[in-house]
Amino acid sequence: MSVSDTASAKHLEVALVAAERTVWQGQAKIVIARTTDGDVGILPGHAPLLGLLQGGTVQVRTVDDEYFVAAAPDGFISVAGDRVSILAENAEMGHDIDLEEARRDLERAQATGIDTDAGEEELRLAEARVRAAEKAG
């Protein structure tokens, strides 16, 4: 079996996991995530990887050619043997986020400033949610 055969025959088992629940679980063709070193596209057969997500969004194309964006602020991605796990305490699906509300949250977070760790984290969370909602919409 050639490499392309295995790639086309296989798919990725993706789990998007938040601290208190599994947000999405299913099969996907490709996962695109932005780590601290730049965007990585993950196809079936990818080498094992552990990376920190930056910017907080992950794009997934499912086997049914559906496409969605998820917010995963301060999360990380782990790839091993065609299993992709995206872990983030506050992971959310892009289309579940109310864009208007997310924008208001972002403005408020920006107004509070990033003097404290908590404020900075809140800002990153808000940014990731807005980005995910914009891409999904």
Binding site: V17, A19, T35, A47, L50, G51, F76, A80, L87, E89
Partner: protein
Amino acid sequence: MPASLRELRERKASVSTIKKLTRAMELIAASRIVKAQQRAQAAGPYARELTRAVSAVATFSNVDHPLTTEKANPRRAAVLLITSDRGQAGAYSANVIREGERLNQLLREDAKEVVPYLSGRKGIAFYTFRQRELAKSWSGDSDAPSFARAREIADELIGAFLTPTDEGGVDEIHIVFTRFVSMLTQRPDVIRLLPLEVVEGAEAPAADDVLPLYEFEPSAEDVLDALLPKYVASRIHYCMLQAAASELANRQRAMKSATDNAQDLIEKLTRDLNQARQAQITQEISEIVGGASALADASAGSE
């Protein structure tokens, strides 16, 4: 002398009210256990994936991290005691507090100073009543702990752990909580949280699980840096969820036996009540009969 009819009736009515109350609390606890178990299950995937990832980093890189480094001469030990906020749960809080006292004793024998951290109002009350110093305490959501709360505790504990001992930091951190074994068995338990022993606990990957060679982005150190605090928070959350389920199971059991006791008391009071009523009737009859025969005797004598 048995109590009067009215008194017995009043007591029976009040016990019936108590029974209704405890029955309601039993049912509430029973329905909440299901929810607590679901929550514990829902938190499972996150903990599992995190454990896998941490094990992977620990196995495939030679990274020394402050959180995994054993200190040479541990002098101060923090103990996080997880108790409930409310009572009516039988010996739940008493048991876990006793386990905590045992651990404190053990640590003191090792010449370590104990720094208590508390979660749950019952434990806080126990410590403040004895006028002991608390490093920090949390309360308010012992039966449905959120991940945010676990993070808050984790941040505090990690902060204390990373502070040098001479400046008020601690050298190791233990958690005392109640493990939910089954609906019938809940056991107080102690785990050492920090320094971390990476491959351990209920979610550790099986021995035959092949851990692949990982690429790290940006680097193993950075990944570990970001992972470990999350891992700590996840373990604390796990302990809190176990404690919450245990608390509810204990409450259900305590309220069940309270309901049963109330039922027994009601039956006893009903019998006392019947006996008192019957005694009264018997006495009335004998008074009437006595009165009648006295009248009959009197009229017979006059004739």
